[in-house]
Symmetry: C2
Subunit: 190 residues, 2 copies
């Protein structure tokens, strides 16, 4: 029973994730999620008692998935400088997915940030998590001012994420990597 519930939750989240990310949160009705997940409406509501809860679960899942993918790219490298640049390799790979639509948190924030404090908070937490990860990488690379370097790298990353979404290619990630390299040259010089 518990295992069925978990499996059903996963099915619903799979469907919700795909639909929310593709069309935006508000544009997707509970009925579309029901149809896509093959679960009954009653069951859907006992798994996620409201759309807000489902949205939150969707964002949680995106956050975890994002961190996982990022870590995989970073941990494939050993050299501290390469580990920083791996962030942009990740963004490149990500932006090449056919269903790529930018950052789910930025999109959700744009839709609901001013009306849903919870969504605004989750977006902030997601970005803060990314910031901490970059600070860690910057420290490991021996940056003089890791916070500052991390902020600079974040700006390039966010820029690449949204520009890829709007213009459709993966070039922005490549360009961001170049720019990051320039900034690393300047910030790791001792």
């Amino acid at each position: 029973m518990a295992i069925d519930t978990a499996a059903a939750k996963q099915q619903v989240l799979d469907a919700a994730d795909a639909l929310f990310y593709e069309r935006g949160v508000q544009a997707v009705g509970m009925d579309a999620i029901r149809t896509a997940s093959g679960v009954s409406l009653k069951r859907l509501y006992q798994l996620f008692p409201s759309k807000d809860v489902l949205i939150e679960a969707y964002l949680d899942r995106r956050n975890i998935l994002w961190e996982t993918m990022l870590n995989e790219h970073v941990e494939a490298k050993t050299d501290p400088r390469d580990r920083i640049l791996a962030v942009f390799d990740f963004l490149y790979d990500w932006s090449q997915q056919r269903d790529y639509r930018g950052c789910a948190f930025i999109n959700a924030f744009g839709e609901l940030g001013s009306v849903s404090p919870r969504v605004a908070e989750l977006a902030l937490q997601h970005k803060e998590g990314f910031r901490q990860a970059l600070i860690g990488l910057a420290k490991a690379a021996g940056a003089e001012d890791p916070d500052r370097l991390a902020d600079h790298l974040i700006l390039l990353s966010e820029g690449a994420i949204t520009r890829s979404a709007i213009s459709g290619g993966s070039d922005p990630a490549l360009r961001a990597r170049e720019a990051a390299s320039l900034i690393l040259d300047a910030s790791l010089r001792h």
Copy 2:
């Protein structure tokens, strides 16, 4: 008569701009715009025959306003390097407005980009206009590879715009300016 129409259009656009930008496009009903603009629903529909048309007019207006504000900041400087950095001064001033909510085009794209080709196109055009402006500034500054430099600067700008929106302060613009300065050091070195 024609002048009244123009004035009424302006009133409607003022109201629509404030509401769309603040709450997102889909969350604002025509009735809210009617109430805020003080115009009758009939008149509203004869000025803008559908919500889609109004959204388009809203984005057009944002684009013009944005370019105007950017140009004002850039033209206040004469030194080519300062003119590039003025872009970030503009972003700083903009992000300090109390109702600041990031880039209207990114927000609209997140909501409607996958369902409205027109919105996707307008977002792309807006970003492309920005890109061309930066290329011009980069050329004037004597950059070796103006396109590349412009792309790097765009990434920092977009990053600053969205990060300010989510975390709420103006720090990102300051940090973007610093990073831009580093990149200029590397790209204008001859």
